[in-house]
Symmetry: C2
Subunit: 287 residues, 2 copies
């Protein structure tokens, strides 16, 4: 896949900020992305470690309207991530900038990349979030951070839960574990997905299946197991998230799924932070 | 002080938001303040509890430029506050609005109330943050939340650490404990304080002493003990915060002071969240 490190050019990264926190270091960085052809921002938490240590890395993909910053500010992951020795990488949710196509609505365009490689206009040039998160950013992370790329896991929220599940299902050898908070499990079956996949990929629904967790499972993709926490008071539960579709797909495929319905909890980071520790432990046990 | 509850009018409060979180409820509320003559916003976390329970309350005062929201988003207090059964109240840092006097700088006017009752123009009408936080808001909290007002404690950050220390020193019977993150301990001895106290209170430094922790201690005020966490990489340490002045004042007064200097930590919420648990436990042990 990638050339060995002495054959590659060092990918340039600029430091936006670094703050000591819970014994580790929370950083924010930017770089010029070849995939999106924009400057991209991402956050990395590096737990305290010994010189020469190579750390397992847990990817967190964010939801609609979010940047790298929402989970960094509100996710409350650093205390336990430091204790467990987990590196946490949080990409942005789309390309951004005046030159990048956009849409007036919150669920399409900038802030709503849906972790796909767009094929349709006006999106195809910049909206390459699958290639960016799946390939380009990992190569950069491996060059600049003390990471063991044989120990990767992934999780996310809502649209980012969709991103995490689909990336894990497409790359079972790369990700040791996967979990999600309130994920979109079947974008082919909900309004957010119809709009996004239709807009980015066009009307041929066969092309959508690679970006739909339930379709991927029905088409044969497998992961070891899945953890999901879903708020019972989530305003998007019935129309957009539909965890029952994933329950059925996992049942058909005999994938162990732990779905925790959390009474009274909504779609916000108040819910994510509440169950963050459970997810960090889930991944640490499998990494 | 206050009339018993059957003699008072219920103070009106509007709910902005309420989110279930860590088993408790994080709320944001507004009300028309008689002291500031503005609408004021505050946040309250109520831990899970049994009907009829009366909870101890810990006040958190925020620093320059902050609102009620900064610590709510970034303070990471809810997990342990829920476990310890602590209610957390987070007021705003000043009156706000187009009709309220302001200053172009970040350290005067809106967002920079310094927890004083201003006597000078143009501030005196609205900048009544001492009376608001010390008297008006507690009366409202007692009416609307399941609180045991005989069990109160207070802490804060930077300007809010100054607010917490001075309120505790002026009200030793009310607050069972006090702590601070990177507090301004002697506003009479630093540029932030010279500007704020000079602006709000005028040039007569005798009037400043009631708003200066070191001066209050030298004038005889006492608390049981004080906990402070101070980042060693705090950009404001030398010029503005000067913890050594509090160390000396506490030594003169025989007040036990635990000052934890934290190497590499800065003035941000990354530091506050890191040491939040220690402070919550400090207060829980004393409440």
């Amino acid at each position: 896949m990638r050339a060995s490190s002495d054959e590659v050019t060092l990918l340039a990264v600029e430091t936006v900020s670094e703050n000591k926190c819970f014994g580790g270091l929370q950083g924010v960085y930017t770089h010029a992305s070849a995939e999106t052809q924009t400057e991209m921002t991402f956050a990395v938490f590096v737990p305290e470690h010994q010189p020469g240590d190579k750390l397992p890395v847990l990817w967190y993909l964010s939801g609609l309207t979010c940047t790298h910053a929402n989970v960094m500010d509100k996710g409350e992951y650093r205390r336990l991530a430091n204790a467990l020795g987990l590196m946490i990488v949080c990409p942005d949710t789309s390309p951004r900038g005046a030159q990048v196509a956009d849409d007036d609505s919150y669920d399409m365009g900038q802030g709503a990349g849906f972790y796909v490689d767009a094929t349709e206009q006006p999106w195809a040039k910049h909206f390459r979030m699958r290639a960016y998160v799946e390939t380009e950013l990992p190569a950069l992370i491996e060059q600049h951070f003390p990471v063991d790329m044989t120990r990767q896991a992934i999780f996310g929220h809502s649209m980012g839960g969709h991103g995490a599940l689909t990336m894990a299902l497409r790359n079972p050898d790369r990700f040791k574990s996967v979990s999600a908070f309130a994920p979109i499990v079947a974008p082919s079956e909900c309004p957010w997905g119809h709009k996004a996949l239709g807009g980015y990929l066009g009307p041929d629904r066969a092309t959508w299946r690679n970006y739909d967790s339930c379709a991927l499972i029905d088409d044969g993709a497998r992961v070891r197991d899945i953890l999901i926490d879903q708020g019972g008071a989530d305003q998007f539960l019935e129309e957009q998230l539909k965890p029952d579709l994933l329950v059925a797909a996992c049942k058909r495929a005999a994938i162990p799924l732990t779905l925790n319905m959390r009474e009274g909890y909504d779609h916000s980071y108040f819910t994510i932070s509440t169950f963050m520790d459970d997810h960090l432990r889930w991944h640490a046990e499998r990494l």
